[in-house]
């Protein structure tokens, strides 16, 4: 009899999620070869990640940002406003370079939706950035330093009534919405709903309906893309994402500067806020993995990179809640796919405190040989072909570095060839060189 999820160990849950990913239901493959290719690629990655045995060869990831858009000769604006063009560009990229997994086609995102909701957090092509460039974050303090208590006491209420109205222009009237935890009794129940009778609030909901309709189209296009790529033989490598609580605060709430100063001026509130966010971030990742039958949850690591925190600050503010999130995901069979963006050389010993075969790390500016001997003992490493080499290197430089990576990292398994940072630009022949060399040289004999 099949075990219930609650009764399974974390190992069993991980195995169950991998099985769902390797053998997805309801797929009509393009051909028997496509089905075979799909299962081989997914199994190859599973073997590298679980570190119980070596795969047939070193798996290959290609993790671009906007590169597929430029590669197809369209602009980022095209990709954000024409979902068909977007999907065609990402499919062409995957099929032409044939990596073992892909990130999907959702990086550009739905431009029209962002227009309707009047998104403030980023500038995007046609909206503060040239049509030919990718979107970029507008750094700022979107949560004020005196709002820590609000976040700590009732995060959802803080998001609904204060934070989201700052980030989405059409949600500004939501500041007037009722605090729903006060809707408890027949006495005065109606008064809570007065805001919904006010024209500005009504306007905001009308806009939201428009936004929802647009994003349904987008969701349809993304779903179709994922399905088509599986049918063609290519696994998706992320089911969704979550974040380290420190980055939740530093990326888009307090901002970089605000958060750094908070460490000195408000350390206790900062720690309490991260404690409150931890179970929320775990739930976010687990939910996405379980609902999509894919074990991989992406975690971009930002403000804990080399130089951004001293070791004491990393151990006090960054690592404890990140580790709790990672272990909360691992407990549910999820595989955290952590992207250590920037340098992580000073963190290797600290982050090696993890169970073996449970996490996957994308490495950017890391000494990969050293990483293999530390973090690489417990975790599968992916990386770290640089953006500089991909753009400006010669074919010889690319193959030399690809060989070095395989020599330093592939022995015993637990290694995936990949670029280190999400690239917008590259020379196509350099990507081919990296992939081709790995297919030959990266075979486990």
């Amino acid at each position: 009899m099949e075990k219930q999820w609650e009764e399974m160990t974390s190992d069993e849950r991980q195995e169950a999620l991998f099985e769902k990913w390797i053998s997805p239901e309801g797929v009509t493959y393009a051909s028997p070869e496509a089905e075979k290719a799909y299962k081989e690629k997914a199994t190859r990655i599973k073997d590298a990640v679980q570190m119980k045995k070596v795969p047939d060869r070193v798996p290959i990831f290609l993790l671009p940002s906007f590169y597929p858009v430029y590669y197809s000769g369209i602009t980022p604006q095209d990709a954000m406003y024409d979902y068909e063009k977007n999907n065609a560009a990402f499919k062409k990229f995957i099929v032409d370079f044939a990596p073992d997994a892909h990130l999907g086609a959702a990086v550009p995102g739905p431009g029209r939706f962002l227009d309707i909701v009047d998104y403030k957090l980023y500038s995007w092509p046609g909206h503060g950035v040239s049509p030919n460039h990718s979107y970029q974050a507008n750094e700022g303090e979107y949560m004020m330093v005196d709002e820590y208590d609000d976040l700590i006491e009732d995060p959802s209420n803080f998001f609904y009534k204060t934070y989201l109205p700052r980030v989405f222009g059409i949600l500004e009237p939501w500041q007037q919405l009722p605090t729903v935890t006060g809707i408890l009794e027949i006495y005065g129940v109606g008064f809570n709903f007065i805001p919904f009778g006010i024209p500005p609030v009504q306007e905001s909901f009308k806009k939201l309906f428009e936004a929802g309709a647009e994003v349904l189209k987008y969701a349809g296009a993304m779903g179709a893309f994922g399905g088509e790529m599986i049918a063609t033989g290519y696994p998706t490598i992320v089911a969704g994402f979550t974040k380290a609580p420190f980055d939740v605060l530093g990326d888009t709430l307090r901002g970089t500067r605000g958060l750094m100063v908070d460490m000195y001026r408000n350390p206790d509130k900062l720690l309490k806020a991260m404690d409150v966010l931890t179970p929320i971030m775990i739930k976010m990742g687990v939910g996405a993995a379980l609902s999509s039958g894919n074990p991989f949850i992406f975690i971009p690591l930002h403000k804990g990179a080399d130089g951004f925190l001293n070791e004491e600050q990393y151990m006090k503010f960054y690592w404890p809640t990140l580790r709790k999130v990672v272990m909360g995901l691992v407990e549910q069979g999820v595989v955290p796919f952590l992207a250590a963006e920037g340098g992580y050389n000073t963190r290797l010993d600290i982050v090696s405190d993890l169970p073996k075969g449970k996490t996957l790390w994308l490495c950017d500016q890391l000494d990969m040989a050293r990483a293999k001997k530390t973090l690489g003992k417990v975790a599968c490493l992916a990386g770290n072909m640089s953006s500089a080499l991909l753009n400006l290197g010669t074919k010889q430089q690319i193959t030399d570095y690809t060989k070095k990576l395989i020599d330093d990292c592939a022995k015993g398994g637990g290694y995936i060839m990949s670029n280190g940072a999400f690239f917008d630009e590259a020379q196509a022949e350099n990507i081919h060189a990296m992939v081709d060399f790995t297919r030959e040289y990266g075979v486990y004999k």
Binding site: V129, N138, R257, M260, L392
Partner: protein
């Protein structure tokens, strides 16, 4: 009790620093002297950063404390303010890129190191760099870029400087997330700095302190 502004600031003891500054102002101490003592504290901060004792948050926090000192002291200055002895540096994030945190830290560290910094901001058009060089005769230009598109913008900016006949008159340093020696070669810059203090070191090397 010793009231040492320089070391309190260097040690990032914000409350102590503010108390000391207030006390000195109450005693009608020379505001320039206070700012100079603060400046020496910032030098120590910069030194500790290059020794990897201090990191980016320490620079950012020291900037916040210095801002508060300036708010208290500058209204009391008689008029001239400090003369920048270090020489002129133009800094900006290149065309197409709106990232500014790294650039702002470099600008800040150059400023406290005595340089006269012309911060052109973000998404700076190629021509604006050229015009700034013509207007200010600055001998050093710093270009910041976080995205890979910045490689191209940096190259175009250096090419434009060449075309305006100004390349021999300036030294160009670049910096940002994915910058390497390959990028320096490609763009035609003179060097790259991996962090703010490297930028200060390059500026000092090229201009020299007077």
């Amino acid at each position: 009790m010793a009231k040492d502004l320089t070391n309190s600031l260097a040690d990032l003891k914000e409350d102590e620093v503010i108390a000391i500054v207030r006390e000195k102002l109450d005693k009608n101490e020379d505001p320039m002297k206070i700012l100079n003592e603060a400046g020496r504290g910032m030098e120590i901060v910069g030194k500790r950063f290059s020794e990897s004792k201090y990191f980016i948050p320490d620079l950012v926090y020291s900037g916040e404390i210095l801002k508060r000192i300036n708010e208290l002291v500058k209204p009391k200055l008689s008029g001239e303010g400090e003369v920048k002895k270090g020489g002129k540096v133009i800094v900006g994030t290149v065309a197409g890129d709106i990232h500014d945190i790294g650039k702002d830290i470099v600008v800040f560290m150059l400023d406290v190191s005595g340089f006269e910094v012309n911060d052109l901001g973000i998404d700076v058009p190629v021509q604006k760099f050229v015009d700034a060089i013509k207007e200010t005769n600055a001998p050093v230009v710093g270009m910041s870029g976080f995205l890979t598109l910045a490689f191209e913008s940096m190259k175009e900016t250096v090419d434009a400087i060449k075309e305006a006949g100004l390349r021999e008159k300036v030294k160009v340093m670049i910096g940002g997330g994915q910058i390497t020696d390959e990028v320096v070669k490609y763009t035609g810059a003179d060097a790259f700095g991996k962090d703010a203090m490297a930028g200060v070191t390059l500026a000092k090397k090229w201009i020299g302190t007077k």
